[in-house]
Amino acid sequence: MKPTALNRTLALLAFASIVVAACAAPPPAAPQQPQQPAQPQEAAQQPAEQLPPGWKAGIPKNPPDRKGKKLVIRDVPKLIGIGYFAATTRGMEEAAAELGNIDFKTDAPTEAKIEKQIEFIDNFITQGVDVILFAANDPVAIAPVLKKALDQGIIVVGYDADAQEDARQFFVNQATFEAIGQALIEDMVSQVGPDAEVAIVTSSLTAPNQNRWIEEMKKYAAAKYPNLKFVVTLPSEEDQQLAFKATQDIMKTYPNVKGVFGLSSVAFPGAADAVKQAGKCGQIAVVGLSTPNQMRPFVKEGCVKSVILWNPIDLGYAAVYAARAIADGELKPGATSLKAGRLGELKVNGSEILLGPPFIFNKDNIDNFDF
């Protein structure tokens, strides 16, 4: 083994010289933005008079004048490879094509992992894009890298899953947590009555959106339907097999359960499949959030009465319109509305752009949607 020690030393030296050479190489494209250390600096250094009182969201630092200019937009959803985010991407592409002069691309990890998502965003910052759109896997963990983007003058807009408010400029809110929570409970109660046992199949136990929905559901139910009893919440990790198995186990362990909530685009069809294959359609209600394509067979058979969701295509569409409006100086802190193409005028509340009330898909309208 001795001679290889020498080899290793040589290799180390060669490697070191490469690194040194790489570091010594003059950075090409000289007029880059000076890179600041990624300190969590606040928007406080901005001239205060631009900001309305109570504005807590972030602002890009010394952004270049982008009015009417070509925009490079990169979208980093929680993950790629699932129908839901394929739909938001479609909406974004549609908006980018309508507006023209936009270089748009979606890229993200293949699993909903915050570490990998951070890596994607960090690399897009290095690439020098104009806009980063994101749906956060974790509101806090994503904040430092988003603040770094803001520090370098990049426009940062969230959709679907928010970050800490000071880590992005605007957030396109598909529906408030309260509205979704209420809609889910009302849908369930309309099917099983106010005195039933219900269970929840969520995505992962750490998923921030899901946890907020569960919180709002329980809060609303406690106030309005105190006899609605939540027996258990099981995770399904965006895997239909796990959602299927969790629902099977719920039906057997808690034989009195009259309804199951499926709280993600994967958990809902998985839960519905389990109820259907157990021959319990009509006896056990399945209520939840998912896309029409994934739920269509269950809705048509009548095993699922209705599917609650916003329109993810519209959500993506609005996010790109928001980005363009920010670049053109039309959407500023204090704005109260956003013109978003075919969606008309969207209401802006503080730093949140509201898409509207949640949408309910049922037997009659589900064929009109393809996502």
């Binding site: 001679p3 080899n7 950075p27 890229d107 990890p109 699993e111 690399n123 430092p144 750490t206």
Partner: protein, 325 residues
């Protein structure tokens, strides 16, 4: 394996040749090719800032890859590293936010958690003689379960500003964690290649029975290796928490595969007995730069995934062909 190449040759070309015949040599050539190609394709790639920034992203994986190299050389494996990281991070958040410990103490708890996790692995493997793959497959689930159970899937947040130093700050021009990592790489390299302990690790991996007969304290060495792995997981958890300013029970899920990929790409034999820290570092740098560079040139993540898979296989294939000659 490579020790057959004559060491007495004194003139450089043949020395260079023999160097290129090692996996490290092959990787070095590959790295140069990748760096040149990517820097031609993107002017944002070969910059000081980009390269230094990448070290922030690879630190946690690298910290785990160092003990993993030693463990794999010794003929073992540790699949629980990602879960140990998460458990340690959760303990940091838990002891600071819920128990109200001062932050430095919480960091100590974080490191100790890693040590305890690693020591349990070490006990099971070295003394109870559970095969490493099975033992750490079980603790992978157990430690992940601890993370969820203890945190109740809630994340700790709101760490003070100065805590960000370790994961987001700088020492001179270098990211803090890069300095720590560089020191540990050197230490691990010296430990493996210059000390008796390092030779024991190779000996155990080559032939455990023979190592035992020649008086090497096999159990103690193994126990130390897995405990070290735990300590590194604790350290990685600390730096990770400082970088992302929160602790999550599902942090670093599946990280073990990234770590193992770097180690085997680096030429460490999965059957034990051969390998090096330099190789592992090269392997990790290649994977990281590929991901970074391809993204900068506009290649999408799914295609990048494929490229990395192909490189992994090709690098070893080329090495085999070179060595066979």
């Amino acid at each position: 394996m490579t020790s057959k190449t004559s060491s007495a040759v004194t003139f450089l070309p043949s020395r260079l040749q023999s160097m290129l015949r090692t996996q490290e040599g092959v990787l070095l050539v590959l790295l140069v090719v990748i760096v040149v190609a990517l820097s031609l394709l993107s002017d944002r790639f070969l910059t000081v800032n980009n390269l230094l920034n990448q070290t922030r992203l690879l630190t946690e994986t690298a910290l785990l890859a160092l003990p993993m190299t030693l463990i794999i050389i010794s003929g073992g494996i540790d699949l629980s590293v990602g879960s140990m990281l998460a458990w340690s991070a959760v303990m940091l958040g838990f002891s600071w936010q819920l128990l109200g410990l001062p932050l430095p103490l919480a960091v100590l708890v974080c490191l100790l958690t890693g040590v305890v996790g690693g020591a349990i692995n070490g006990l099971l493997i070295a003394y109870v003689r559970v095969p490493p793959l099975i033992a750490t497959l079980a603790t992978l689930a157990i430690y992940r379960g601890f993370s969820f159970g203890i945190s109740q899937a809630r994340s700790a947040r709101g760490f003070p500003e100065e805590f960000a130093f370790w994961g987001q700050g700088q020492i001179g021009p270098f990211p803090t964690q890069f300095v720590i990592l560089a020191a540990l790489i050197v230490a691990a390299h010296l430990l493996l290649s210059r000390t008796g302990f390092g030779r024991w690790v190779y000996a155990i991996g080559n032939n455990e029975l023979a190592a035992r007969y020649s008086g090497i304290p096999v159990e103690r060495v193994k126990f130390t290796l897995y405990t070290l792995s735990g300590l590194m997981a604790g350290l990685a958890a600390f730096i990770f928490t400082s970088r992302v300013t929160t602790t999550r029970a599902d942090a670093a899920t599946g990280l073990e595969l990234d770590v193992i990929a770097a180690v085997v790409l680096g030429g460490t034999s999965i059957f034990g007995g051969s390998g090096s820290i330099i190789g592992t570092v090269l392997g990790l740098v290649i994977i990281t730069l590929l991901r970074n560079g391809l993204l900068l040139t506009g290649v999408k993540g799914d295609a990048t995934f494929m490229v990395i898979g192909i490189v992994l296989i090709l690098a070893v294939l080329v090495n085999n062909l070179v060595r066979r000659r």
